[in-house]
Amino acid sequence: MTEIAIALNRFGLGGRPDEAPPGDAKRWLLGQLDRFEPRPPSIAAAPQRQTVVADLADFYEEQRGQAQLRRAAGGAGRRGRLRMQPAAMKDMPDPEAQPGMAQMPDAMANVPDQARRFVRRQAHDYYLNLVGARTNAALAAPAPFVERLVHFWANHFAVSADKLTVIGLAGLLEFEAIRPHVLGKFSDMLMAVERHPAMLLYLDQAVSIGPDSTIGRRIAQRGRQRGLNENLAREILELHTLGVNGGYAQADVTEFARALTGWTVAGITRGPGQRFIRGAPGEFAFVPMIHEPGPRTIMGRNYAQEGEAQATAVLADLAAHPATARHLATKLARHFAGDAPPPAMVQRLEQAYLRSGGDLPAVYRALIDSPEAWTPAPAKFRSPWDWSLAALRAVGTREVQPQPAAGLLTQLGQPVWRPGSPAGFDDIDANWSGPDALMRRVEAAERLAGRTAETIDARRLAPRLLPGAVSDATVQAIARAESSAQGLALLLVSPEFLRR
């Protein structure tokens, strides 16, 4: 690959027929750090947090009403019913789910009508429109390299929209917590993410209660079991900051979980602390009455702060920790230089992170300056998201409808904001280059090309998308194609287009 082809494809999101290729690869990339739009028109027009949250709050209100009715009727009503559905989003309007990592049962079969309607609303009105906004922002982006970084961080801080409460909120985490900070400090992004309702609900933090807190003790006196949930604490340490070998132990997880108690969401949380939460629905809230009192010791450091400030202080220390620098540097290097991140490059990014106090543009500059990211041989097999954007951009698409966009990504094996786990999608080639995945790309390429080929000549498009990087075999295959649509399909599935 030439430097221009690398800048366009490995760092960017692929070329467009209506945009001239950059003149100077590195200058083009650096310039994007000033051109990025945190809130482009498609995202400004997408559903806002208040709307999504109001719907969620209404649903809970209905649920509470129903539970009271059941109790009044002496029914076997425990509040178990709502808990059944987080399992799956089977009722998505695009029902073409794949069986691979499918949640086991058809969970919605057991869900009351009202919950079913709620899921449909959250999925159709909010989730899909947010997917559309994300895709359209990337298709028309003035700074595609920074858009790629947004997608990278959203996957780093993954939430998965197959949990009921997160369906509509998952996209907002990216728009509200990632985009504003993608060119800022990592510590600010970390703080914004961990305080976001999507994260607090996804990893169960919103219902965690300090056993020795005012409410925790009251619950214990009544002989009921509710208390600490260490899910968010563990994933912050393992996935968001230090990394799995970052030097923490189980005791640190539990202590951090204690420090985090009290962090919750106003208006859309259930549980004993709920009526003590102040604030507009969907906003972060700190509730002293469920916060575990007392100082905490985490990774040998003492945190004597009271209340909300305690976990804030822990997060600030985690962001500055050398293990975090190493963890983030490794993931970035893997994303840009290949599955086996070159140690020298990891070290360079790590140093840039530590020297700048976690200033992300400083790290990105070190990335652009790393020779390891400019190897002429392709460094990565494009993920389905990456490939879809590149293909849509290649055929000149500026805007897609939400539903087909979401459906395409589901079919290709990478449903947007639904990685199925807080670890996000695995960023290695083998995850995406399987036989079946390849067949689906060919199917998708043929369909896409069939719709757009009349206006596009693949013979002229190829060198524009991949300057100096089109192989003779691909040139020949396109030239011999039986139709312009077939030629375009072959370009989209050519080895040099499948990789970056």
């Binding site: 178990g80 069986p99 036989p435 060919v442 199917e443 043929e446 369909r447």
Partner: protein, 382 residues
Amino acid sequence: MFDRRAFLGGAAATGAVLLAAPHLAVAQAATDRRFVFIIQRGAADALGTLAPTGDPAFAQVRGAFAEDFASGARMGDFTLHPNLAEIARLHAAREALFVHAVASPYRERSHFDGQNVLETGGNAAYALRDGWMNRLLGLLPPAESRAIAVSATVPMVLRGSHEVSSYAPSALPDASDDLLARVSALYERDAELHAAWQQALQTRAIAGDLAQAGGRNAAATGTLAARLLTGEGARIAVIETGGWDTHAGQRARLGIQLRGLDAMIAALKTGLGPDWANTLVIVATEFGRTVAPNGTGGTDHGTGSMAMLLGGAVAGGRVIADWPGLGNAALHEGRDLKPTIDLDLLIASAMAEHYRLDPGRAGRTLFPNIASARPLEGLIRA
């Protein structure tokens, strides 16, 4: 009362016989053996699946969770979750074997590292770069080593140097044959794409019009897997299942999960028809969950778990366990079921018996760190 020795079954008293069994290494005529590995991703709760209802501590420590086991198939001191009706029937027909309090060598609590150890067969995460099922293929005659992942991408356990396939139904329109032929030509000089593409074409020919069946729930996945395992298709398959990470609201969620798993097994058995008699299914998860429920009606990441061996090839109708007990003092790190049987050893032993392999060689190849351990015996019908 609970007599821990009573559970030993075939597990402990084996050992010494093995080296004296050279006949096991004699190659057999090719059979129609099938092997299916079902991964429960997210750490399935063993105590909520096969409950040690005979352990006096169980009802107390599990509280309301224990109520689910008022019904359900009794198996001595254990009770199977009532939603596993088909698996209970397999047990009655001696086609189900449960091995409790098992664990891989992994002792931390990260899903992702735990799954990597479960799938690579190493003794630490990322110590090995290929999966134990892929290494197994190298020990088998070609007729028995065709393997497929019932998913769009190939999971770690099946990745490696031996070629494997993957398949999941797609709602995209089929590509035209002419385009497929041209893609074949385009990939000829690209080793990676060429290999993957050839696999994709073969699988497409076998799967036929099944793509329309959808495969959207567990039973459909079981049916699809069975279809891929019959006729000229694969002999080995891996199926991934998610949704087992029950940190909150476990009773309802686990109940639904188990019903799905049960339906998947039932569909697999029906779909395989007479081939079920030669089939071994292993169901396993990366680690267990805490013995005590947490504050949100769920359980957190733990250690000891449970594995199931199902199928006509299994010498079933038993629970194998060297039961560690659920009393406080018996727990791993004061919170988890203590593992007493190596999951690696169990899998290696089952593979050796199922495929009539030399157990030492099978063990060394699949799980290099258990090379010297003594295999379990009598898992598979002679």
